[in-house]
Every structure is written in C-alpha cells, then in structure tokens.
C-alpha cells in the first residue's frame, strides 16, 4: 500500500462539468502551442510555466495565446482552461489537498491532457549520478529536479543508475567492493544486494520494460560483451562475443530486441540484436556517426542516443527501425519519459564544466534545466 497521498487528493477533486474537448493526438507535432497564464503568481506560476514549456507549450501574452489558463490559489488551486478564439471553456477545476506544488503539477497535467491528449509527467521520478570531487553517489528527484534525495553514501564511485519499471527498485554499478559490480536497491527499505559480481567489469545494467529481465555488460568471458539475465542477475545468457567492447544496452518495450553500442567497426555504432540470440545488426543513422547511449522510447517508435562530434555531444533521435537521425540539441545520455515525448538528458556548463540535468521536448526543441544539486549530475534514468 504505497499509494501516495496525492492519489487520494486528486480523487477528491471538485470540478464543474464542461463539454469534453475534442482531443487530437498529434504526438510529434513540432509546432509549440501558445498559451497564456492569467491570475497565477509565485510558485504555482513557476511550476505551470515549467511543466507546460517542457510539454511543448509557449508561454505568451493573452493577446497571442491560443489557450488561456486562468485561476488562483487560495488553499486549493483553481484553474479554468479556455480556447481564446471562441472563448469556449475546456475545463474548470479545483485541486485541494497535497501541496501548492503538487496542485500546480496536477493542473498542468490536466492542461496537457485536455489540449494534446498526452499524459503529463506528474509523480514521475528521476534517478541519477552526482559526482563531487573524486567520489559519486546515486540520487533520486522529481522529474523537474525538485525534492532530491541521496540514495547511497559510500564515498566511492557509482554509475549508470536505472529504474526497474513500475517498481520502487533501482539497479546501478558501484565500486564499493573494489570492483565494478551491479547492485539492486529496494527504495522502500534502502536494502541492497550485489547481484552480479564476477571478476572483471559488471556494468551498465538495463532492465526490460516489464522488469523481468536485465541486460548488462560483463567482461568475464574475456571481452566486454552484452549479457542478459533474470531480474536478479540469475540465468545469465551471453548475447555478443565480439573481441571489441559493447556498451550501454537498452530494450525494445516488447522485450524482443536490444539496442547496444559496439566498437566492432573500430568506432562506436548502434546495433540491434534479438533478445533470443542472433547477430548484431547495424542501426542506420544517416550521416550521424559516433553514436552511443541509446534509449528506446516506451511506445517503441524511436531511439534517442548521443553522438560525439569532436569534443561536443548531441542528443539525436532516429526511428527504431533506422533511417536519417535528427540532431536535436547539445547534450548527452538521453532517457525517455513515460509519454515517449519528453526526455531528460545531461548538459555541460561550458566545454568541460560540471554536468547538470535538463528536460527536452524533442518535437519542439524546448529545453529547460531541472533544479540542480551541488556537484556534477549525469546519467539520468526516468521512472516508467
């Protein structure tokens, strides 16, 4: 029974019934939707602006807006969404309970849902790595960077945290035993287990979408290869046996295929391989080369990845079946949100400065930094 209180709060919503909006789902439209906020101020306004911008909206003056969100906060948050062209009201709702912040997130999600038909991001979490001086720890935070919580305190090196889908459980690599081993940590209790700890590197854990399998890179057979196991590191199966190094595996949402980086051609390239075994097949990315860090969208359609060009890195997106990749924005290590549209990724301050997390609405190219914690934040993984 880990239902958050806000679950109950949301169900206790009061609302006045309006005609249901005609929902037109155009998931990858690159046009931003102009919206104005009237009557809101302070924290509520900030949360609404943030949530709507990373959902592909442009915050504009009411005279240029296609939609207006009018409301106020008096204990509870109230909001009326209307179409500015015909003055038609799309909804009029109140949000009692929770905090001002959670009320604002709930309202923003309702606006996104009413206008685009997409689900918002409220309640989703990010797990990531924070490096300070020569040590790093695992952290979790809300999707917008708020409420950061430190999940390890080993004064050692950690890497590649990944959320086990639909659960309060994460995987990551830690060097606390002197070797790169894969740990699973229960976020309810903090208890953890070293589930894969062979000699050599045990790195880059990646759970399948249904949580039943784990992909990883192990070097125990003499080269960094792709392996899969059950969710606790048992029943290991080796999928690649190239002399070159593989890295950063991820799963197709149906669990049938993996995407992984191999240096088989002498430089990093994305490949796919059946989870049941088979051969590596190049994923075409057009003119975009030096490709690493793939992440498969939850709807199965896209693969987001990092390409390196000289000393800069870019976030790119390609169809999951390959094709001409689109270069979206400068950054590294993208991770998809559950709605298959928003991504979180790592940005650098200056060329070799510290890293921080940022959100991307890829069709519109909207980019917004999350709240930061001290140190260098990287390797985000979105709960989904």
């Amino acid at each position: 029974m880990n239902f958050p209180l806000k679950f109950f709060a949301s169900l206790a919503l009061t609302f006045s019934l309006q005609a249901a909006p005609q929902v037109n789902v155009t998931d990858t439209t690159s046009r931003s939707i102009p919206i104005s906020l009237t009557g809101f101020s302070g924290e509520t306004r900030k949360v609404l602006e943030f949530d709507l911008f990373v959902a592909g909206f442009d915050l504009v003056d009411v005279s240029q807006a296609q939609y207006d969100l009018n409301g106020r906060v008096e204990g509870k948050t109230e909001g009326t969404l209307s179409d500015t062209a015909n003055k038609a009201s799309l909804f009029n709702r109140a949000y009692p309970g929770g905090t001002t912040r959670t009320q604002a997130h709930a309202l923003a999600d309702d606006v996104v849902q009413a206008i685009t038909g997409r689900k918002g991001l409220r309640g989703t979490k990010i797990v990531f790595k924070v490096q300070r001086a020569r040590t790093s720890e695992i952290y979790a935070c809300d999707f917008d960077g708020s409420n950061p919580v430190q999940l390890t305190s080993d004064n050692n090196i950690v890497a590649a945290p990944a959320w086990k889908s639909g659960s309060r459980s994460i995987y990551y690599t830690s060097y606390r035993a002197g070797n790169a081993d894969i740990y699973q940590q229960d976020l309810n209790t903090g208890a953890r287990t070293a589930i894969v700890r062979f000699s050599g590197s045990n790195i880059s854990p990646s759970p399948s979408a249904d949580g039943s399998k784990l992909a990883m890179i192990l070097s125990k057979a003499g080269s960094p290869d792709l392996w899969i196991s059950d969710s606790s590191g048992g029943s290991l199966k080796r999928l690649t046996s190239t002399p070159a190094d593989e890295s950063s595996p991820c799963w197709s949402p149906d669990g049938s295929t993996l995407c992984v980086v191999s240096r088989e051609s002498g430089y990093p390239l994305l490949y796919t391989i059946p989870a049941s075994g088979g051969t590596l097949r190049k994923l075409t990315t057009g003119n975009v080369r030096n490709t690493t860090e793939p992440d498969w969208s939850p709807d199965g359609k896209w693969i987001a990845f990092t390409r390196q060009r000289g000393e800069t890195f870019d976030i790119c997106i390609v169809s999951a079946t390959g094709g001409d990749a689109k270069v979206i924005t400068e950054g590294e290590d993208p991770s998809w949100s559950p709605n298959s549209r928003t991504l979180i990724f790592t940005r650098r301050t200056g060329k070799y400065g510290s890293k921080h997390l940022s959100l991307l609405d890829w069709p519109t190219g909207h980019v917004k930094d999350s709240s930061r914690v001290d140190g260098s934040s990287s390797q985000p993984s979105w709960s989904r």
């Binding site: 989703t124 590197s201 960094p224 070159a244």
Partner: protein, 218 residues
C-alpha cells in the same frame, strides 16, 4: 489508525467512483500518471550505517514516501557462481592485499579511442611479467582508464577493453590466466585534472596493482 480508516474509506470511494464512472465520469477525474511508480518524496531521512568491512554487502538509503521512510536493513548477499573463463575467482582476489605503489612507474598509455597496447609500452608490460614470474604467489589487477572525451558508459567499456588488452599481452608472455584480473574506471578516476592533450594522454592508461596473499605482507 484513525487516518488509516479515513484512507481506507477514500480508497473504497475511489475504487467505486472509478469503476462506476467509466462511461461518463472519467474524463473529469485527473489521471495520475505513474501512480504505481514512486510517489512524491518527503524530507531526506538520515542515512544508515555502511555495510561490511570489505563492502560485499550493505545498505543504501531508502527513498522516503509521503508516509515516511522505513528502517533500512542489511542483506547479506551470497556471491554468484564463479564461471570466470580465465579470470580469477573474486573471493581469491578480494582476500588479497593490494600494493598500488610497486608498479607505479610501469603504467602504460593508450592512443585516443584505441584499446591496443602500443609497441612503445611493451617494455613496461615485460617488466611486470618478469616480476610476476619471480614471485609465483603474487597476482595482478590491471586497471583501465580513459580521458574525459567520450560518453560515460562507453568509456567504462573502453577502459575494460584496454585492461583486457594488457592482460592478453601478459598471458602471451607466459603469465597464467588465473593470476591477472581486470577492472575499468572509465573516465571516473583521472590522474590529471586538466582539459588538454597533456592531461588526456596521462589519463588514457592502464595501471598495474600488485596483489599479495595476506600472509606474505607484514
């Protein structure tokens, strides 16, 4: 308990209204994306003590929920099987004493984005091999590292590939496979902090760590 029964009532109401409201009401019920996922967190709770001395088990910290965190606990994990295909059993390695100084002058360096051992570095590998031949009770860890140019997990695999290349050379020089283990730190443990080739060249490296049985050290 009072609040629990209140919650239970609300749950019941919620279930009733969601099942009854499928036809007409659901549009106006705010969907809760990911409510089976981790909820919004509360304050940071104090951490728990670290685990065992050599770190084979131990606890991380819980992620608090709105209803508060629970008590962390240690799980004593049993290592998995040791099908190591040539690499040494972890239990043997974990019990040995590491001397990071002994081969400090023998570190080998790599070309950018390459994992093969350069001819110029072979002398250092030979020195290490000769020492191991003279000291049969000793073992070795080879640690592979990268410069900061490259993505993190890519570099972690590349560093491992570098360490494995050095190991292969040692094996070709007659060192038994079960005496040499590999590790990779990717770009996480630079020896130089600069952002130019002078620093990068020193960071693309393989370090040799001498491992001795506990009895022989003292």
């Amino acid at each position: 308990m009072k609040s629990f029964s209140k919650l239970a009532t609300l749950t019941l109401l919620a279930l009733l209204s969601s099942s009854a409201g499928c036809k007409k009401g659901t549009k106006n019920i705010t969907p809760l994306p990911g409510y089976t996922k981790p909820p919004i967190s509360g304050p940071i709770t104090p951490g728990n003590p670290l685990g065992g001395a050599n770190g084979n088990n131990g606890s991380g910290r819980p992620l608090p929920t709105d209803s508060g965190g629970s008590v962390p606990q240690d799980i004593i994990d049993k290592p998995k099987s040791t099908d190591l295909a040539g690499q040494t059993d972890r239990e043997v390695i974990d019990g040995m004493v590491a001397d990071r100084e002994h081969f400090k002058a023998n570190t080998v360096y790599f070309e950018f984005d390459k994992a093969s051992v350069k001819a110029s570095e072979k002398g250092n590998v030979t020195t290490v091999a000769d020492f191991l031949k003279s000291k049969p009770e000793a073992r070795l860890a080879v640690e592979g590292h990268c410069d900061e140019r490259g993505t993190e997990e890519y570099n972690r695999s590349l560093g491992e590939r570098r360490a494995l290349s050095v190991r292969e050379m040692l094996l070709n020089m007659g060192i038994a496979a079960d005496r040499v283990v590999t590790r990779s730190f990717g770009e996480d443990k630079p020896s130089e902090l600069g952002h130019d080739e002078a620093a990068w060249g020193k960071n693309r490296r393989g370090e040799f760590i001498l491992l001795l049985p506990p009895a022989s050290v003292r």
